[in-house]
Every structure is written in structure tokens, then in C-alpha cells.
Symmetry: C2
Subunit: 128 residues, 2 copies
Amino acid sequence: MQVMSSNSDGLFRILADPTRRLILDLLAERGPLSVGQLASEFPDLVASGISKHLMGLRAGGVVSATRRGRQQIYRLEPDVLAAGLAPWIAKYEQYWSAALERLRDLAQEGRVKDELTSRKNVRRKRLK
Amino acid sequence: MQVMSSNSDGLFRILADPTRRLILDLLAERGPLSVGQLASEFPDLVASGISKHLMGLRAGGVVSATRRGRQQIYRLEPDVLAAGLAPWIAKYEQYWSAALERLRDLAQEGRVKDELTSRKNVRRKRLK
DNA sequence: GTAATACATTACCGAAGGGTAATATATTTG
DNA sequence: CAAATATATTACCCTTCGGTAATGTATTAC
């Protein structure tokens, strides 16, 4: 409480947990998913644990949910994430650019097979 | 332990604390600083608390330290920070670009006086 | 209506985290 | 040498956090 806590503060706390980051990644890669679909990606975690994480993400605004039948469909809210972190990212922007270029060089050399470095898979599907 | 923990994992935990983020900002804006200089920026915190944070940052590799007399001079290691977060940032890059443009537009309209949006203050001084 | 499904909520636990105070160590000063 | 300065380390406290289990609630299926 002795440090200015901007709105980005909550985002950093949200991103501190690897499970939550992976949930965001899944929503980004596969589009909107139900709680069950998300939970199935975490065999070592109980479903209610995922639900709790989702509530945290929802409270932070980085995901939103709509009911469909008896299931809740969660989707990423990328603008909230981006707008909240943009000021911080901008501070170190000069460093990102160099690091990102290096990443692309590696990818282009075919030494990285990680799908995250390619641009074809952040697709949107089934908006309704 | 049920989730892949990449090397970026430690970085996210480091960034989760606002005091540590501010320390990084100070080092980025003012160049290398001693523990005392950094601690003076946190009136509500005891010096050993800052020291502990600095050891954490050092363990993560995002800062390095060299003795000068009886004081330790800490400096930012921007490449470690950038390289560690670049993969994650790349995933959501399309969203950052939009948010960062919006930030610049606001700055250009003179509605933001925050020095963080200007590019003149990330200076390097006194490398030795 | 009853049972089953899909989530959310609550209570609870252990571990980790941030903070202080006290102590230790290295360096300079007198 | 002793005293002072600058930082690191340790022990300890309290809070937060991630996790589970159990219970609650809404919706669908029978």
C-alpha cells in the first residue's frame, strides 16, 4: 500500500500464475471455450480450481462469459489485456523490438517449431 | 507443478510485485543506482526490504550489481527482461500494436503528461 | 418431479510472499 | 585499532494465494 497501484497492477498479479496464463493462451488460440473444455486441459487440477481462476480473470476484465445452456462460455477480452499493459510495455519498448526481432530470426531459420512464433493460429471462430 | 513452467515463469512472478516493477523503472530511467539511492525512493519501506527485493531481481537476472566502495551499484539488464518476455509478448502482439498506437495518439494530443510516453528519458549514464 | 450435468461458492489447508527487526559482514573514516 | 556506513542475511510475523473437498444452484434429460 506504499506504492502507487495503477490499474495495471491487477493485471500483473493475474499474469503471475502460470495456470491463468495458459488459460488466456488457450482462449487466444482456440477462441471461446466452456469451463469444462478449459478444465480438461488441466488434468492435475480439479474443476472448481479452474472455475476459481476464471472468476479471477473475469474480475480483472481480461475474460468475459456468457451462458449457453448449462455451460458458461468464456472468451478472451484482448483489448482489456492490451490496454492495461500497454503503458508498461511502452516503457521498455526499445528492448522488446530487439528481442522480438531475434525471435523471428530464430523462427525463420526453422530452429523453432513452437507454434507460438507463427502467425497463423490466433484465429477467431464462432463469434455467435 | 502441474503446468509447464518456462523460464518466463520467474519473470512474471518478479513483475507481480509493484515495488519490484518500480525498482526496474527507476533503473531504466536513471541508470545504475546504489541500494541507498533506490531505498530513498521508498519512504514506507525499510532498507533491508529493498535489499531483499534486489536480491530477487538479481536471482532472476533482470538486474546485476557491482561493488563500488562500500556500496553496491545495481543496473538493469534489459536484454534478460526482454528476451524472457518476448515469447509471451509475441503471442499477443497484434493486440499490443493497437493499444500502443492508441497510447501514442493520446500522448500526441497532449492529454497525457506522463513522462513514460515520451522517449527522451531512457538514458544511459556512467557505465563506469 | 427426479436425476444428472455444469459451474459457482464456501470453508479450509499448507505454502509462499512481503514486510520488519535484529544481526552479520565488508568497507571506509578517524 | 574503533566507530560509522552500506548492504546482506536471518528469524519471525502476518497475509495472500493456489489448491482441494464439499456444498449450492441453475439447467437439461429422463
